[in-house]
Subunit: 346 residues, 2 copies
Amino acid sequence: MAHRTDIAEVAKHAKVSKSTVSRVINGGYASAEVKARVAKVIAKLGYTPWTTARNFSLGRAGCFGLVMEDSQSEWITQILGGIEEELTAKHISLLVGSLVLRGTYDATTVLSWVRERRVDGLIFARPGRRERSVVEAARKAKVALALITPDESFKSGAVLRSNNADAGREIADHLYDLGHRRIGFVGGPQESLDSQQRFEGLESGLKMRKVKLLPSNVVFASRYHIDEGKGYAERWLKMAPSRAPTAVVLANDIMALGFMRTLQAQNMGVPKDVSVVGFDDIPAATLVWPGLTTVRQQMRAMGAAGCRTLLTALLEEQPERSLLEFPMDLIVRQSTGPVPTRSVGP
Amino acid sequence: MAHRTDIAEVAKHAKVSKSTVSRVINGGYASAEVKARVAKVIAKLGYTPWTTARNFSLGRAGCFGLVMEDSQSEWITQILGGIEEELTAKHISLLVGSLVLRGTYDATTVLSWVRERRVDGLIFARPGRRERSVVEAARKAKVALALITPDESFKSGAVLRSNNADAGREIADHLYDLGHRRIGFVGGPQESLDSQQRFEGLESGLKMRKVKLLPSNVVFASRYHIDEGKGYAERWLKMAPSRAPTAVVLANDIMALGFMRTLQAQNMGVPKDVSVVGFDDIPAATLVWPGLTTVRQQMRAMGAAGCRTLLTALLEEQPERSLLEFPMDLIVRQSTGPVPTRSVGP
DNA sequence: ACATTTCCTGGTAGCGGTTTCACGCGTCGC
DNA sequence: GCGACGCGTGAAACCGCTACCAGGAAATGT
């Protein structure tokens, strides 16, 4: 078996003690001469400290865990990107363990990370009601937490969230400026805070312009699913043209695309017959025609910030609560346009 | 600070030695009586062995690394799902480190996994030309490898690939049955084996039906990018209707959607004016209207199989080469339809 | 000149598991 | 009746690194 050089071998070649080698690597006291000599030996031997041994010695895992549901997978790339950005920048390079939760909610894996692997921190991507118990368990185990969630009521850890309300207001302005006055809204489940905040933002934005959202045009879906958009489209198609909303805002892109494609299947045009706005800016939003006007969450930044929190928590002792809010960016594409003015051809 | 129970404490309470406790946990010799007593103590104390210590002692990392590019992120969920399926099933629960490579190809992180963390295996998701050097380096370091790639020329490790050629033939049949005879193809970069194999499959399938692909209708793009689909669409729009392909196959979904949306922006209908087929079945394929007819890769299965390979490689000593081929599934949606019969209304 | 601090270094003791080794015991075979 | 063998157990070594401690040398202060 090939021989793996260890710190003792480096020490021997450099004619110093293991301790000194360790100090040279980690930046303790060492004379310039010794530093140079040890560095040279390290280079010659191609020595690299073994992370596992170091972590073991330091009593830590050297790992963060990332927890998310299947359905949130549209974001995973961005979040991972942000986390990695932060991790590779630090000399303390950590691995990211990532977990996609299955339909039936399985807390075992997360808890095993905490109990067995003793991860140094957990990043929860958009934990909801069902995740609460796991978050709670993690909290009790004194693991550092970063929670990407609109719900600041979580008892501990760093909470990172998007400013849904402002985004809603921005959409209101955008649609108002295009001339829309009859506007529809399709929310997610009633208990979804994202959905609530987005609705309130939209409503308050419209209110400032003296526009009212008719309750009959507002719907809250039982889940964030494409069929819910489809359902609203069917409803929309049955409305009298003089009463149907000229623009519809849906609480996520999936529903918005469901709405759009159902209308298109019935030969309605977007935005010719109705403007559509979504939330989240999933990859598909640029791939469809017309491109979906939507609001982008700074997922990458949130992932990075969450990671940074955990890193500082790793060094200092500060299981403090904190709350960071990220602005959302309205991305105007082709799915929104001026109000259809009946019987005016080009 | 809260006290963490270790194996010595368990041993003390159970009035046995550390060795015995270890044996009870890992299934060595132990009398039934002792087993029961130790198990009871473990339960009472809520003891869980610390993974890092165990891995350190065993001289392994307890981690696999997953390597993929940004652009392949559409698959990440499926691959992760497959890997996890395999990992949580085993009692040996391992973490997955996942890495998204940035535009400028950065091998450092991967190599640091190999050198510093000494991962027990690496899963490469669709490594291409540029990845070759990293794969090669990993091979030299004797790390177990699982490569999800169409390129079986990789010198080592388990190669997992989709049967692109059969998929191409299946598409040929599908389009032929719908009456298409003038068919276009947009490939990826010339050196992309996926693209080559897909093209060859399509061509051979059509040949069996005595249909020829006109060279003028075949294009190989410089990269898998949405704009390449757009470019082909512009080209298509300029063709004489009697010579333009009635169906176009594009080597991935992104390009296919680019093709579709550009046509739609010019008021052409799919599949009314032209049928479209993509490859990969990315999430967006179901979200657009019309839904994109495409071919699904069994990414989940490939991830799981790759993981299984690594797990067995971890136990036994078998750095063998192996090649697994997975069938692809043609998913017929609305973007393909019968050949447009000119001037025949319903 | 002596006390004090700062810098530098080596020896040693862990970190929490697994594994090897030696040994006692009972059972079996001849 | 005695060696051979399988089972069950404990003591101690070990994995590779860091941290703590003690002590010497050099620099500084009074």
